[in-house]
């Protein structure tokens, strides 16, 4: 088997098929990035898996998963101030969490350089929105490079870090989901080796970096000056590529993956426009754009999500008095969804119907979608099945972010509103105000509890809110691939102090705390009822280890025997509680109503056995006698 960790440390140039995210990890090593921080979130966690594939003692960098994106930004910032080339990466909405510190970065002298890798998610593949983080760049005066492929991601990271170190300013590398997850052969350069420097270069000889009073304005002036310098540097053929088409009266300005989609779509066309592909998207590379505008009669700005480039380009044309017709977004639909080749064909056809032959009838599958769901044996399923029985129909449930969010789907329908990481206690508190008729129950996972959940809990205690918080504790950051969190007793570098959820709650002054294993459904129902009957803020911890993680660990054991349950067809009364209400995906239902258990799916944990009113479910004969998880 090829060893990823070894590959990342090769000193000679080489080519390998890698993910965009892996290409970034190599770029970090080649560029001498010494400190890397993150909070896990799709589409970026594979950057961390790549970095962590290098054994601890061989790492020419320090990596940490921080408690949240804001802290990750601050740690990278501090390291950079002290002279270490640093990188922070996280998903799109992570920037909202980081924002308070992030918008200040450009005011500082970032001695070592700092690249922020943002994983934007057009199409909201795995996020609660598809926000366009280029808006933040404008607010924070930070330049943005945007690669369209894994090879470009690698090259642009090297450029971003070089620029950042030269100007001592932050630079954003804006990735999108399918650039992060795209795979292709990337040609890597040499790495001259290196270790993390131990020299402390934090330097305030230019004055303290405290943007208060008049200093804030002075620092802003410097930051703006650096931004325009960076803008000039990025206005170069390295980041602005022109491709000639067959019809040079028309031109398209585009960037990122939409550029690739455009190339694909134009393969069908005999009248192709010239293309200006921007790798630098903020500040706008004015020279390159101006020249392109002056040499084309009609220009289409083809950009995913919001009209950021479009507005800048139109303003430029107006200011410079360029006579050209510019079309960008034509309707709201143009702002929604990922610009896949199919989408680009649609968008382009709205402006230039003659250019893109639309493919015949739309191919719409006839089947209902297959939504994601909790794994077989998941403790959250057991918990939701029980909690639902403890609630009255009119009670209000507030979801948070994590695997347990999936409880909002049928058949559980637990979780009726969702904002962001850690919001549930705050939102639940608001819902409880002046609300005597309906009880409020909020959910939160343990990783999210540490990430952004604490202020809501403090507020609930501080302001005597009347709601019940259920902590769904599975011991890991499951949704993004089982990264350790502060309660796990381990960090990315080795053992660490485990911070117990219960201890934190007690320390914060929560008086009413109940705990139970999520598989103990009767007990859980009882505790939730008790907690909800109390006046004030109460917490129930429903704990069970993530069974996907647990099963994977078990499977590595050579003696592992996969267990499963079966439905006794004699006893079964076809009440369908297991398949319809408990809803473990292992239960399969025949057309005649017979229920069977898929041995491919079932892990034999037995959490379903208690749900059957006629006791028809039991471990398969050959599995009995062994212990269950």
């Amino acid at each position: 088997m090829k060893n990823l960790g070894e590959m990342l440390l090769r000193t000679e140039p080489f080519s390998e098929i890698v993910l965009g995210n892996t290409a970034l990890a190599r770029a970090m090593i080649e560029s001498g990035t010494e400190v890397v921080t993150s909070y896990p979130g799709s589409p970026t966690p594979e950057i961390a898996s790549a970095l962590l594939s290098v054994p601890g003692e061989k790492r020419p960098f320090y990596f940490q998963f921080s408690t949240n994106e804001k802290v990750a930004t601050e740690v990278a910032c501090g390291a950079s101030l002290n002279g270490h080339p640093s990188c922070v990466f996280f998903k799109s909405v992570g920037l909202n969490v980081a924002a308070d510190s992030f918008v200040q970065l450009s005011l500082l002298e970032l001695e070592g350089g700092l690249v922020a890798v943002l994983g934007d998610d057009p199409g909201a593949n795995s996020s609660q929105n598809e926000q366009d983080n280029r808006h933040f760049a404008r607010m924070a005066y930070i330049p943005v490079l945007e690669p369209s492929s894994p090879s470009e991601a690698y090259r642009y990271y090297l450029e971003a870090m070089a620029l950042s170190r030269r100007q001592k300013m932050p630079v954003i590398l804006r990735m999108t989901t399918h650039v992060c997850h795209g795979k292709e052969k990337v040609a890597f350069g040499a790495w001259k080796g290196g270790t993390v420097s131990t020299e402390s270069r934090f330097d305030t000889s230019g004055g303290p970096m405290v943007p208060l009073t008049a200093a804030a304005l002075e620092m802003k002036r410097r930051s703006l000056a650096r931004l325009s310098l960076a803008g000039c540097e990025m206005d170069s053929p390295a980041f602005c590529e022109v491709r000639k088409g067959t019809d040079s009266s028309r031109g398209v300005i585009t960037a990122g993956l939409p550029f690739r989609s455009l190339l694909d779509v134009l393969e069908d066309s005999d009248r192709t426009p010239d293309i200006l592909k921007l790798g630098a998207v903020y500040p706008l590379p004015e020279k390159a754009v101006e020249e392109f505008l002056r040499t084309h009669g009609q220009v289409k700005v083809l950009e995913e999500l919001d009209d950021v480039l479009e507005k800048d380009i139109k303003a430029l044309a107006f200011d410079r008095g360029i006579r050209v017709s510019i079309t960008g977004k034509t309707d709201d639909d143009d702002r929604i969804g990922e610009f896949t080749p199919d989408k680009v064909a649609e968008v382009l056809a709205k402006t230039w119907p003659d250019m893109v032959p639309l493919r015949g009838a739309k191919r719409q599958p006839s089947l209902a979608p297959r939504p994601p769901q909790m794994c077989p044996g998941c403790g959250h399923r057991s918990a939701f099945h029980a909690i639902r029985q403890a609630l009255a129909k009119e009670d209000i449930t507030v979801a948070d972010i994590g695997c347990h969010t999936l409880g909002f789907l049928p058949p559980y329908e637990m979780g009726e509103v969702l904002l962001s990481m850690g919001h549930s206690t705050g939102t639940g508190a608001g819902l409880s105000l002046f609300n005597r008729s309906r009880k409020v129950v909020s959910f939160i996972g343990d990783s999210t509890f540490f990430h952004a959940g604490l202020p809501g809990v403090v507020n609930a205690v501080f302001n005597n809110h009347n709601l019940t918080l259920i902590v769904m504790e599975n011991g890991t950051t499951a949704m993004t691939g089982h990264q350790d969190h502060p309660g796990a007793g381990r960090n990315a570098n080795g053992p660490s102090e485990a911070i117990p959820v219960r201890g934190v709650l007690e320390g914060l002054g929560v008086k009413s705390i109940r705990e139970v294993d999520a598989y103990s459904q009767a007990k859980l129902i009882e505790l939730v009822k008790e907690a909800m009957a109390e006046e004030g803020f109460s917490v129930v911890i429903a704990r069970h280890p993530c069974m996907l993680k647990y099963t994977r660990e078990q499977q590595r054991n050579p003696d592992y025997v996969r267990k499963s349950v079966e439905v006794n067809q004699e006893t079964c009364d076809r009440l369908h509680v297991c398949v319809e209400s408990f809803g473990c995906p292992s239960f399969q239902r025949d057309e005649d109503g017979t229920v069977t258990v898929s041995r491919e799916l079932c892990i034999g944990d037995g959490s379903c056995i208690q749900t059957c009113p006629v006791k028809a479910i039991g471990l398969r004969k050959e599995n009995r006698g062994g212990e269950t998880a």
């Binding site: 589409p43 199919d342 089947l367 939504p371 994601p372 999936l406 398949v579 399969q588 239902r589």
Partner: protein, 188 residues
């Protein structure tokens, strides 16, 4: 060589990642240009997962347009039907592993399960060659490699031979796991 587009799908947890990575690496071992992309995100939670691989020709985007995949590989019957309807090109091939992981609507009694005949019927309508693979395996986690094995034996990807698939698995799997999977790849 003209570009050859492949669309793969399955249910989260079935190991589509290994399947697509193996196809990509096999094509590379065969000396062909190749790129691809998987959908991740909520993938491991039993939702639908998909993967695109494009072999040969100029590499533009890894994403494939609807109705233009010459080869559709699916790890599950329901997803095979969905995949063929959305992505298979007329004149192309659908190869799927014939197992059924019932989607929620079927388990709730709100929809009928997809039958093997449904898939065949759709393929006829779409002018797509239809192949179902089913075999007993030492471990259900090897269904992906069983599918790869059939694709290799039928020569479904032009220019990619059994030895290339073997090398691909050698790149990807360690010791004992490799041996077991090679047996599935090359065995009956």
């Amino acid at each position: 060589m003209k570009r050859f587009d492949i669309y793969m799908s399955g249910v989260g947890g079935q190991g589509i990642g290994l399947l697509s990575e193996a196809v990509i690496r096999a094509a590379d071992h065969a000396g062909l240009s190749v790129c691809g992309v998987d959908t991740h995100g909520l993938a491991q939670r039993g939702g639908m997962v998909e993967s695109f691989v494009r072999i040969g020709g100029e590499v533009t985007t890894p994403l494939v347009r609807k109705g233009s995949a010459f080869l559709v590989l699916a790890l599950e019957r329901t997803e095979a039907l969905r995949a063929a309807e959305a992505y298979a090109a007329s004149g192309g091939v659908l190869l799927y592993f014939d197992t059924l992981w019932q989607p929620l609507d079927v388990r709730l009694g709100k929809a009928d399960a997809v039958s093997a005949e449904d898939v065949e019927e759709a393929c006829r309508r779409l002018n797509v060659r239809h192949m179902a693979e089913k075999r007993d395996l030492p471990d259900v986690r090897m269904q992906n490699v069983a599918l790869l094995s059939r694709a290799a034996k039928e020569g479904l990807i032009p220019g990619v031979e059994m030895e290339h698939y073997r090398k691909a698995l050698e790149d990807l799997l360690p010791g004992k796991v490799l041996a077991a999977n090679l047996k599935v790849l090359e065995g009956q």
